[in-house]
């Protein structure tokens, strides 16, 4: 039995956890109380993250589609993928990364796309745009006197939720905006504004709230309906010298954003519709865009598990989980944290960067 420090891969907060391994297998997690972000506290997703490693559907070797998906080897699958990539024009090729990829993987993927001349590249970012304004940090949450929240942060990002609770205990006023009739975050707030849409809030109520904002306020944006809305929240913050933290979903959403273009669901759809070959690294796109993906001629996927996207694919490369490789994640407050390899990838799986390099090598692209 061995405990090793790592970063939780389940959301963008970047909590520390201890991974328990036994005979080179992940068996559990243990509180990491020395870690400043979460002090040993973690949510269910965090405690159970080791399940990603031991997941029954882990891919152990490459697969290719014959009539159905069948096991293959690296040579055959790489050759097939490469010959297909070569057979399309760069304009017909779409490349999609993920907020779950490390910064280093995003970089390599981008380089690969550039060398190939493929301009259609991005990663699914929900409704969050790229932004470069300065964001608050976790202590700012705790020390704020007024916090405006969109979404159910307590439930979805509990370790920021904790900082909201600490702020509340220090006397902060909390206002939350969301769609359902009641939410846990709404319940602990001084005021809960149920709204039809974020737009409606911005149009009807934002002005009133603006008067409450000052330099000891903070805006936490975890829910948006539309990319443009973030800028409006940013304006609210800028006008009042408040701090702002957009809360994106994945453990490296913020890092990926700095490297790859963030794409909303609609943008993804539009892009995919124009493509004949799609190369997806690390994202289970089919879970939201299954129908759109079916129209693509040829689908190449790198995935840790036999997920819906893998099942739709023509070539599937088995990839490594976060503790099976070395790299870094950038959390919501812009903190870049290293993750070290703790375990070897299972079976023939390799880390995403290595797989991208292998493809590049066969294509005689120098990365």
């Amino acid at each position: 039995m061995k405990l090793t420090h790592t970063i939780c891969p389940s959301c963008s907060v970047g909590c520390g956890i201890n991974l328990i391994t036994q005979k080179q297998e992940a068996v559990g997690t243990y509180p990491y109380k020395r870690y400043p972000i979460n002090e040993g506290k973690s949510c269910k997703k965090g405690r159970e993250c080791y399940g990603m490693i031991t997941e029954e559907k882990r891919l152990l070797n490459p697969h290719i589609k014959k009539t159905s998906l069948v096991g293959s080897n690296w040579d055959e699958s790489l050759n097939l993928a490469v010959s297909k990539i070569k057979s399309y024009e760069p304009e017909e090729i779409g490349i999609i990364g993920s907020g779950n990829c490390t910064n280093e993987e995003c970089e390599i993927l981008k380089k690969f796309a550039t060398s190939l001349g493929a301009e259609n590249i991005g990663y699914p970012a929900g409704n969050f745009p790229n932004f470069d304004f300065e964001t608050g940090n976790l202590n700012d949450v705790e020390n704020s006197q007024f916090i405006l929240i969109t979404g159910n942060v307590l439930k979805e990002y509990p370790l920021i939720g904790r900082k909201i609770i600490l702020a509340k205990e220090n006397g902060a006023e909390i206002i939350t905006i969301d769609y359902p009739q009641k939410t846990t975050t709404g319940m602990i707030s001084d005021q809960y504004i149920q709204t039809e849409s974020i737009r409606q809030f911005l149009d009807d109520e934002a002005e009133k709230i603006q008067t409450k904002l000052n330099e000891s306020s903070l805006i936490l944006v975890s829910k948006l309906d539309n990319k443009e809305e973030l800028e409006e929240f940013h304006q609210m913050a800028a006008k009042s010298n408040s701090k702002i933290i957009p809360i994106m979903k994945e453990c490296n959403s913020r890092g990926a954003m700095n490297i790859l273009p963030p794409l909303s669901e609609d943008e993804l759809k539009t892009m995919i519709n124009g493509m004949n070959l799609l190369y997806i690294v690390g994202d289970d796109l089919a879970s939201q865009l299954g129908e759109t993906l079916k129209k693509v001629d040829f689908l190449i996927t790198q995935s840790t598990t036999l997920n819906q996207t893998a099942l739709l694919s023509d070539v599937v490369f088995p990839s490594a989980c976060w503790v099976e490789k070395t790299g870094s994640f950038t959390n919501i407050t812009g903190n870049t944290q290293k993750v070290q390899q703790i375990l070897p990838p299972p079976g023939e799986a390799m880390d995403d960067a290595t797989i991208i390099m292998k493809i590049a090598e066969k294509m005689e692209i120098d990365l």
Binding site: M1, K2, L3, H5, N18, I20, Q22, V27, G28, Y30, P31, K33, R34, P36, N38, E39, G40, K41, S42, C43, K44, R47, N152, L154, K155, P158, L159, G161, R162, I165, L166, E169, P180, K182, T183, T184, G186, M187, I188
Partner: protein
């Protein structure tokens, strides 16, 4: 070795040097590993610094130097780790009283095999959460926590030692009044000398460079005697004066703990309105249950649909903590883990400790100490 009290120290020079007191604990582990009486030793090694205690399984006695010394800012729990991952091993483990209490309850429930485990107890005056320690050292000691090479709790003070050998100390009381210092459950903890382990080791009553050992069980006597006979341990009889001093300190500490119990479980106990506020923020993450050494069910009642509420708001406390309380609070050992890990800062351990106290008053059952299971489990007609 007729007496149950003795002073001991390591024969091994490294262990003597690196050990907290006399390195006796590490020497006993060394003896147990070398003579193949155990397959492994579970204790703590330093992670990134002295505030980072990482549970570590040592299988080669040469590695024991890395785990020497006491980490007062490492509130870990071993009960769960042993039950889940180390059941098949013959094991020796360094236990704080709360570890020993949890293990005891698990032994009674056949979750840990008492024949396979040596419990080497460490006296404990309380632990500090690592981040609390960092903040406190910056704030009150005005020292960069990275410059601290050693920390210690002695004579009611939290003492830090700097690289140049100098010390700084502040009264624990003062720190605790300001919300720092030991975890609140530790403040309430009245088991300082783990007489539920095989031996209890500490610095109380010890001469400098020696570890004071109280032998509790026959198994405990055997390992100390044999470690001595086999040349791992040097032992001598403590002067009676020191034995008395130790007893006195223990008495004072217990009294203080009871005062804290009154404070936290009665006088300053959260009102029902406060509890409602707490329960309203519960995100049903089960961290409190998962970390609790007493909650080990494969299929937990709390996750049954029968009790569940709609997901968007907090679960009804009656059928959430209420159900968990009804399952195990009578056996709560006040280890504080549930409260440590709750992401919503709910003082969970307080209600559990309070219920165990009520239960103790009614039945005499002391969680983690009594030899029997709580009477709730008894088939007796009484």
């Amino acid at each position: 070795m007729d007496s149950n009290y003795l002073l001991a120290r390591a024969k091994d020079e490294d262990l003597l040097k690196k050990g907290e007191c006399g390195g006796a604990v590490s020497s006993i582990f060394q003896y147990l590993l070398d003579s193949n009486l155990v397959d492994g030793v579970l204790n703590l090694s330093h992670g990134e610094d002295i505030y980072d205690g990482v549970p570590t399984l040592i299988e080669d006695s040469k590695d024991l130097v890395q785990t020497c010394g006491s980490l007062h800012c490492a509130p870990t729990m071993f009960g769960d780790l042993i039950r889940k991952y180390l059941q098949d091993m013959n094991l020796a483990v360094a236990v704080k009283p709360c570890d020993a209490m949890a293990i005891k309850e698990l032994e009674k429930r056949h979750q840990i095999d008492s024949d396979k485990i040596y419990k080497v107890g460490l006296n404990c005056g309380g632990t500090v959460l690592p981040i609390t320690a960092l903040k406190m050292i910056e704030l009150f000691y005005e020292v960069d926590p990275d410059d601290v090479v050693k920390e210690e709790i002695d004579k009611g003070k939290f003492i830090i030692e700097l690289a140049d050998g100098s010390h700084k100390s502040i009264e624990i009381d003062e720190l605790e009044e300001k919300g720092y210092g030991r975890r609140v459950n530790c403040q309430r903890c009245e088991l300082m000398i783990p007489r539920n382990a095989d031996i209890a080791c500490g610095n109380w009553g010890a001469e400098p460079g020696w570890t004071f050992i109280e032998i509790v069980t026959e198994k405990g006597r055997e390992i100390v005697e044999n470690a001595h006979k086999n040349g791992y341990l040097e032992v001598k009889t403590p002067p009676e004066k020191l034995v008395n001093i130790r007893e006195k300190i223990e008495g004072v500490m217990i009294k203080m703990a009871r005062k804290f119990q009154d404070k936290y479980l009665e006088e300053e106990y959260p009102s029902l309105e406060n509890w409602d506020e707490y329960w309203n923020r519960c995100i049903e993450c089960y961290a409190c249950r998962d970390v609790c050494p007493l909650c080990y069910c494969r299929e937990c009642d709390l996750e049954r649909e029968y009790y569940s509420d709609s997901g968007e708001t907090a679960p009804d406390p009656l059928t959430f903590q209420g159900v968990r309380l009804s399952h195990m609070s009578f056996s709560c050992v006040n280890c504080g883990q549930c409260e440590d890990v709750c992401p919503m800062e709910i003082p969970v351990a307080r209600i559990y400790h309070r219920m165990q106290k009520k239960y103790r008053e009614q039945t005499g059952f002391i969680a983690g100490m009594s030899e029997e299971l709580p009477p709730l489990f008894s088939p007796e007609k009484e």
